[in-house]
């Protein structure tokens, strides 16, 4: 019988409260080694708290977790040697140069001075920060450069599990693409990547499995394809001709309306995006073809997904 593969990250019943507020309420998950796992959720869902518990920086009130086969509380040092964490804010010294930051991190992972210098040079090259940039203070870097250097700093110790907390929040599209490429090449090299994001597209593009976190609970979990079956990927926005027409349509649609905006007299309805389906929807809502002024089809946003998932749950 084949041995079951031990998950790279495993958690059960993680609970955390600050004051009286529950931030995590029984989160359990399992990530096979060498895969990319995305924890998707809005601000305040508990993504960062989850990552900090898994990365040993925070202790859960209840529940257990293991990373790379080690318990995050009892075997904290072993976990720390196996992982790296790149947070939302660049964990770097602004007054040191890029090269100095990486050499420092390399020394802290236990490399000798010459080995640290070699490792730093190698990573600067790989992340496109060699040459002039390497010897400039991080304070002068652009947002994208900082994030790349931060990512590089996380890779100094050759971790087998990498945690990325909102790795692309606030980045321009080109820098975002660079981070995505790097995540993919890490996964290809067999590294387990655990990332959090508020962007559906990012989870969709990068992750083998996605977990939806909302209000401290996992509300859905699966591959991107599995999740998309649960939620319509498109939304039809209808703008009604008058407030009266808006009220009437809103009443008729009732809970089918996933978006309501009386100010612009707009109602959103989920659709699969097929022309036939949209035509049917328009005919059903406005058989006389006088009440709907305009329509637009949008790709579903994370909000839509959540509305759908939390409504069904």
């Amino acid at each position: 019988m084949p041995q079951p593969i031990r998950p790279a990250v495993e958690a059960a019943g993680l609970t955390k409260a600050y004051g009286g507020t529950k931030v995590l309420d029984g989160v359990g998950l399992s990530v096979p080694p060498g895969t990319v796992y995305a924890l998707l959720g809005p601000n305040g869902a508990g993504k960062t708290t989850t990552v900090r518990i898994l990365a040993t920086l925070l202790r859960a009130d209840a529940g257990t977790a293991s990373v790379a086969g080690f318990d995050v509380v009892a075997e904290r040092s072993q976990v720390r040697r196996a992982i790296s964490l790149t947070g939302q804010y660049a964990a770097l010294d602004e007054q040191q140069t890029g090269a100095e930051n990486l050499r420092m991190v390399a020394r802290l992972t236990g490399l000798s001075r010459p080995a640290a210098a070699r490792r730093a040079a190698e990573l600067l090259e790989r992340f496109g920060l060699a040459g002039d940039a390497a010897d400039r203070r991080v304070g002068t870097y652009s947002g994208g450069m900082r994030r790349r250097l931060d990512l590089a700093a996380g890779l100094v110790g050759d971790p087998s599990v990498i945690f990325l907390d909102e790795p692309t929040t606030g980045l321009d599209p080109r820098s975002r693409q660079a981070v995505w490429d790097e995540v993919r090449s890490l996964a290809d090299a067999g590294v387990t990547v655990f990332l959090t994001t508020q962007y559906l597209e990012e989870a969709d593009r990068l992750a083998d499995r996605i977990a939806l976190l909302d209000g401290g609970r996992l509300v859905a979990e699966g591959t991107a394809a599995e999740l998309k079956q649960q939620v319509s990927a498109e939304r039809l926005d209808l703008t009604l001709v008058s407030p009266e027409a808006y009220e009437k349509a809103a009443h008729a649609l009732d809970h089918l309306a996933v978006r309501r905006d009386p100010g612009t007299r707009t109602l959103g309805v989920t659709t699969d995006g097929r022309a036939a389906h949209i035509r049917d929807l328009l005919d059903a809502i406005d058989p006389d073809r006088t009440q709907i002024e305009r329509f637009a089809v949008h790709s579903a946003t994370l909000d839509d997904v959540f509305l759908k998932v939390t409504r069904d749950g």
Binding site: L57, G87, Y89, L92, Q96, R107, G110
Partner: protein
């Protein structure tokens, strides 16, 4: 253990580098002590009678100014620790399993380096305005040892204060008591000239033996047991602050 040493050495390198690139810290560390020296000697000195033994006020006050500077330098140290604690970089250190003591040792080393530079500068200025110590090699070495001990102790106290404070601003504020501690001592005026209720404190507070022994050693007078008292105070303060800092670091990080 080897890890802890490499970690501490790396953190020392980091803090010294960061400190040398922070113009505020450099100016505070170097310019302020010189200004204080000049203020005491030229503005207050003329009105202060230290009674007999000391020909010139500069001879009396130089050790006090040196200790006062260490107190002012503590503000920078406490602020830089507090600043570190709220930044994301501390998470990186923790996820690399770097202990709190190593991180703080870096700050303390930078603080000691800043203060030693200031001490040398203050000595230079003091000489320029007439300070004429009368110590032999032994006296100089003993003075240097006591200065190093008091600077180290104050730096560790400042590091612990930096961890206790919730913001760099608060940390800077908390260290004011360190900057004022030399005043109720024999640093600037003889204790006899103070009101009676203050004598008890002024004669027995930790900085009094430090200042008395520095003054005595530098001017080549007998110092009795005060150097040992000074070193005992410094050792006790350092040990207590290291322990408090380690506990505070753990508390902050859970």
């Amino acid at each position: 253990m080897a890890d802890a040493l490499t970690h501490s050495a790396t953190m020392v390198g980091r803090s010294v580098r960061l400190s040398s690139r922070n113009p505020d810290a450099v100016i505070t560390a170097l310019a302020l002590p010189v200004l204080l020296m000049l203020v005491f000697v030229y503005l207050f000195g003329g009105a202060i009678d230290t009674g007999g033994g000391y020909g010139r006020y500069v001879d009396y006050v130089a050790p006090g100014v040196l200790v006062l500077c260490a107190g002012f330098g503590a503000g920078t140290t406490a602020m830089s620790v507090a600043d570190d604690m709220k930044g994301a970089v501390i998470d990186r250190f923790r996820s690399l399993d770097v202990g709190g003591t190593a991180v703080l040792a870096g700050h303390v080393a930078a603080s000691v380096a800043r203060n030693l530079a200031a001490t040398v500068l203050v000595f230079g200025v003091a000489f320029a305005i007439g300070f004429r110590p009368d110590a032999g090699v032994g006296g100089w070495l003993a003075s240097a040892g006591i200065l190093l001990a008091v600077i180290t102790a104050i730096s560790w106290v400042a590091a612990a204060v930096g961890l206790l404070a919730n913001s760099p601003e608060a940390a800077g504020g908390f260290t004011f008591f360190l900057a004022f501690l030399p005043y109720p001592s024999s640093a600037f005026v003889p204790v006899d000239s103070m009101p009676g209720w203050l004598h008890g404190f002024a004669e027995h507070q930790p900085l009094t033996p430090v200042i008395e022994s520095l003054r005595g050693l530098l001017l080549g007078e007998s110092v009795g047991s005060s150097p040992w008292e000074a070193l005992a105070w410094c050792a006790a303060l350092t040990a207590a602050s290291v322990a408090a800092a380690a506990a505070l670091f753990r508390r902050r990080m859970t």
